[in-house]
């Protein structure tokens, strides 16, 4: 499928991790854990608006 070019927000994403990462101090612990949890919860925000559009 044709890929979107230079998209701000790819599918499944509202606030990209790289954008959030810039706001955080240097992560002293498990960076991957912080990233994973951020992305999982961010995906709920994505699903909310697209389900509003498609299902409701």
């Amino acid at each position: 499928m044709k890929k979107q070019q230079k998209t701000k927000r790819p599918p499944g994403v509202c606030i990209p991790w790289q954008e959030k990462l810039k706001e955080l101090p240097k992560i002293s612990g498990d960076k991957e854990l912080v990233q994973k949890v951020w992305q999982n919860i961010d995906a709920l925000g994505y699903m909310y608006i697209w389900q509003c559009l498609l299902s409701f």
């Binding site: 499928m1 599918p11 509003c52």
Partner: protein, 398 residues
């Protein structure tokens, strides 16, 4: 769960899946898309099943337990108006509030000049679809959400909190509902996930049908680019809700992209090139798509025939099911074709005759699922639904 109930479930699942793979099983599976009919049968009003999803779930389970059906949609009265009211969505006629409690919910399209997306906003949508939906679209469709740059409010803040929690509660409840359908009546949950075509969604929720009719003539490149921008998102949402076991299909609800709502030229320029790759991508992941061809899509059967074998199930509403079978029957399973008007106004004998005609015409080699033409609402007679079910069980044995 009783062992015989599990056996019944497995038997029905096998039968349903075999038909969807365009194969022949022991008998024709029955999978009626019963919506407000469930309320009528279970003794609820449309308001009750639309506004209280637990009652909708209970009504669906009661029908599943009382009729010998292989699969049903867990809740075909899908739009829970408790949720839409919590968000403040403006585009619904809500049973018991703005329309009579005995009428099914309605979608209200705004007049062209009040479309939820303006004709000069295509670039914003194309650049960032998700941002556009949150920042521009949602404040227009919700009575509570504040527009960007406007003062926020208590109602604005609550809309997101209540809407998000309500949506999560509702979606999570489907897991339990599907489990109860399985254990109480051995019934398969018929579909999983949702898909709409980019072109349809622009007409349905953004520009409106009349707005899009204008746009395909006045700004066709923008329309095409917007469809392309929506493609990866609609694919992602569809796959996110798909059946992890890859048994049941993703429901694809087809609206107004066909002739005569649009010309064949427009279908081939906008609709099909931006939808076909979505189906191919989903099929590459191992999921079928159920084409719920509301209205009459017969003019486009040759396009649908381009798709890979078994990649879709094609549901017939007002189309000519015998023509559909001729064009698509070698490649895909077909469902539906029993007219809703017949179920509402005919006699059981009429229904049996029509079912025989359809079964004789399209089901001989398997690959057919018995169903009404469109979702079954509260105008259908109970005795006619029984006749459709019982006749298919008696006559539809291979």
């Amino acid at each position: 769960m009783a062992k015989d109930m599990e056996q019944l479930y497995q038997q029905r699942l096998k039968r349903y899946v075999a038909a969807m793979r365009n194969e022949k099983s022991d008998m024709i599976p029955i999978r009626p898309f019963v919506a407000e009919f469930t309320a009528k049968y279970a003794g609820y009003t449309c308001q009750e099943v639309t506004h209280d999803y637990e009652k909708a779930f209970a009504a669906a389970r009661k029908c599943a337990a009382d009729f010998d059906w292989d699969a049903v949609v867990s809740n075909m009265v899908y739009v829970w108006t408790g949720l839409t009211e919590a968000i403040g969505l403006k585009y619904y006629g809500v049973p018991g509030i703005s329309i009579p409690p005995t009428t099914g919910f309605q979608y209200i399209e705004p007049p062209e000049e009040k479309a939820f997306m303006k004709p000069d906003e295509y670039d914003q949508l194309i650049e960032d679809p998700t941002g556009f939906l949150y920042n521009v679209w949602l404040p227009r469709v919700s009575a509570d959400v504040s527009a960007m740059g406007q003062p926020t409010s208590f109602r604005n803040n609550l809309s997101f909190l209540k809407g998000g929690m309500a949506m999560l509660t509702y979606f999570n409840a489907f897991g339990k509902q599907n489990e109860l359908l399985h254990t109480e009546s051995g019934t398969v949950s018929a579909i999983a996930g949702i898909l709409k075509a980019p072109f349809d969604i622009i007409a349905d929720k953004l520009r409106g049908y009349l707005g899009l009719v204008t746009d395909v003539l006045e700004r066709p490149d923008k329309v095409l680019a917007a469809c392309e921008a929506l493609m990866p998102h609609l694919t992602h949402v569809a796959l996110s809700g798909a059946d992890p076991d890859k048994n049941v299909p993703i429901g694809y609800w087809m609206h107004r992209g066909c002739v005569p709502f649009f010309s064949m030229e427009h279908f081939k320029r906008f609709y099909w090139p931006t939808f076909k790759p979505i189906v191919e991508e989903i099929w590459a992941h191992g999921h079928q798509v159920l084409f719920y061809a509301e209205g009459n899509w017969d003019a486009h059967l040759d396009s649908f025939a381009e798709l890979p074998d078994q990649s879709i199930v094609y549901h017939v509403d007002h189309g000519d099911i015998f023509k559909v079978h001729k064009v698509l029957g070698e490649k895909f399973c077909i469902s539906g074709g029993i007219p809703n008007w017949l179920l509402a106004t005919g006699t059981p004998a009429d229904v049996r005759d029509y079912c025989k005609k359809v079964i004789d015409g399209v089901a001989g080699n398997g690959g057919y699922i018995m169903d009404a033409s469109a979702i079954v609402q509260n105008d259908a007679k109970v005795e006619n639904i029984k006749a459709m079910t019982e006749f298919t069980r008696d006559y539809g044995v291979y």
